[in-house]
Subunit: 244 residues, 2 copies
DNA sequence: GCAAAAGTGTTAAGCTTACACCCATGA
DNA sequence: TCATGGGTGTAAGCTTAACACTTTTGC
C-alpha cells in the first residue's frame, strides 16, 4: 500500500492512434479484457509508473498493448472530470499518434482481448469518456496539420502526392484541386521528388518490374525533415506552407 | 492518511498569467512562503482537490493566491519529469491566462509572501521547472494568437487599435505597418468601431471632457464576441483573419 | 513650438482559385 | 475500348507589403 498525507488522483495516459492506409484514416482501439467496461472498445493506455514521464508512459503502454513502437506522439489535453472513471479518481493525459498503418503488425497484449483498426468515422461505442477524447484529438490534429508538416508522419518514407492530398482532404473534410495542391505542396520546398529511375525500384511490385516493355513512371516524393527543421529554426520561410 | 494499492503522483496546476498594461506584457508571480524554494518567485498554482477538474483547480488557486477571478484560462501542457519537485513525484498541468492587467488588484494570499507583476522578458529566477513552463507558454500563446482572437482578452472592453497592434508586435516580436494592420484587423469583420460621440464619454478623464474647446476624438473599438462565435461555428470566414 | 501619435490611399508583387485536355494504365 | 488516374499551364481575383504626408495632442 502507498500512503499520502493528502489524497492523490490516479494518472493514466490514453492515446488516439491515427493510421493511414492509403485511402482512409483509422483509429486503433483495444477491447478491454478487464473491468470496468470489460469487452468494450477503448483507447490504448494505462496507469503511469512513478519513474517515467507521461510521454514515456504513453510509449510504454503502446508497446505493451498494441505492439506499436517508435511513433510520433504528442500530448494534447488532460481529461479530469472527477467521476470519469467509476473505480476512483483518475485523471488522464491524452496523446495523439500518427502512423503509416501498414508499418505495424498489431498484436493485442496485456489486459486487452484484441486490438483493431476502425475507420475513424465509424467507431464502435467507447469506454469511459474516450469518445470525447477522440473528438478533441481530431480537432487538435486539424489545427496542427495547418501549421506543421505532420501529414507525412501518416505516410511511409516515400509516397505519391495524391496520398498526401487524400490526407488533407480527409482531415479538413474538403476537396482540393489536384494541380493547385501539387503546386503549393512543391513550393513549400521541403519535398524531394525522387529520381524517376529509382521510382520503379521503390514502389512497383516485382512482377511489374520484370516487365520492361513500358516505363511505369510515377513521381514519388519524400519529405526532407532536415531541411524543414533547419528552415524552421531560422524562421525564414513562408508563414504557412502547409495551410490548405 | 490516504492509501492506495498502487503509487499515485501528486497533481498540481500552475498558471502563467499574461497581463497587458497598454505598453508591455507582464507575468504574475508569487514569492513562495513555504519550502521548498521558500522566498523564490514561482508561478501561482497548487495541489488539485479530488472533487474538482484541473480547470476548476487552476481557477481556485488563482483566486486564493492572487485575488484574480473570472479570466480566460487554457491548459497547454503537462510537465512530468519524475524529479521536478524535490518533495515527491509531482506532475503539473500548466495553464495560461490572459488578463487586462489594470482590471485586477493583486493581493497575495495563502502560502505566498507576495504577488507581483514582472515584465515578461525580465523575470527573476524561478522555482522548480517554472522557467521552462513560461517558455512553452509563450510559444503556445504565439501559436494560438495566429488562429484565434485571443489578443482581445488582454484588453478591456474598449480599446484603441494601436494597443491591439502593440500586443501582436510584442508576442510575435515583429513590427507591423500601422495602416496595413488597421486594414486587416478591420476586415476581419469582428471589430466594432465605437461611435465617435460616445468615445469622449468612455475614455477621456473628466477634466478633459469638461474642456469643450477641442473634439479629442479617437477611434475606439470593441470585439464582437457573439459575431465571432457565430461565424466560427458556421466556419464561413476567411481562413486566418488574425494571422499577422 | 516641438515631438509624438493618429488619421488616411495607392501600387506592385505574390498567392490562391478556377478551369480542360492529353496520355498511360489496367480492367 | 473504356474508365481511371496522372501529368501539365494560364488567367482573374484577392491578399499582402511597402510606402509619406497631414493633423492633433501633450509637453
Amino acid at each position: 500500500m502507498y500512503s499520502y498525507k493528502y489524497p492523490h488522483p490516479a494518472v493514466t495516459t490514453d492515446s488516439v492512434i491515427f493510421g493511414f492506409d492509403g485511402s482512409s484514416i483509422n483509429i486503433l482501439l483495444i477491447e478491454r479484457g478487464i473491468e470496468p467496461f470489460k469487452g468494450t472498445w477503448a483507447l490504448p493506455g494505462g496507469f503511469l509508473n512513478l519513474d517515467e514521464t507521461v510521454e514515456e508512459g504513453a510509449i510504454r503502454e503502446l508497446r505493451e498493448e498494441t505492439n506499436i513502437n517508435d511513433v510520433y506522439l504528442e500530448q494534447f489535453h488532460v481529461f479530469s472530470a472527477p467521476n470519469r472513471d467509476p473505480r476512483e479518481r483518475v485523471l488522464t493525459v491524452a496523446f495523439f499518434a500518427l502512423v503509416s498503418k501498414n508499418d505495424f503488425e498489431i498484436i493485442a497484449g496485456d489486459d486487452a482481448n484484441e486490438a483493431q483498426w476502425f475507420e475513424w468515422n465509424h467507431l464502435p461505442p467507447l469506454a469511459f469518456d474516450h469518445a470525447e477524447i477522440v473528438r478533441m484529438a481530431k480537432e487538435k490534429l486539424q489545427d496542427k496539420l495547418r501549421i506543421s508538416p505532420i501529414a507525412f508522419k501518416l505516410l511511409g518514407r516515400e509516397f505519391k502526392m495524391d496520398e498526401v492530398q487524400r490526407i488533407y482532404e480527409l482531415i479538413h473534410e474538403k476537396r482540393y484541386d489536384r494541380r493547385n495542391f501539387l503546386r503549393k505542396m512543391e513550393s513549400s520546398g521541403f519535398l524531394k521528388k525522387t529520381e524517376e529511375e529509382s521510382i520503379c525500384r521503390c514502389l512497383m511490385p516485382p512482377s511489374v518490374l520484370e516487365d520492361k516493355s513500358s516505363p511505369k513512371v510515377f513521381y514519388v516524393y519524400s519529405f526532407d525533415e532536415d531541411a524543414f527543421n533547419k528552415a524552421n529554426a531560422s524562421k525564414e520561410w513562408r508563414k504557412y506552407p502547409f495551410d490548405f
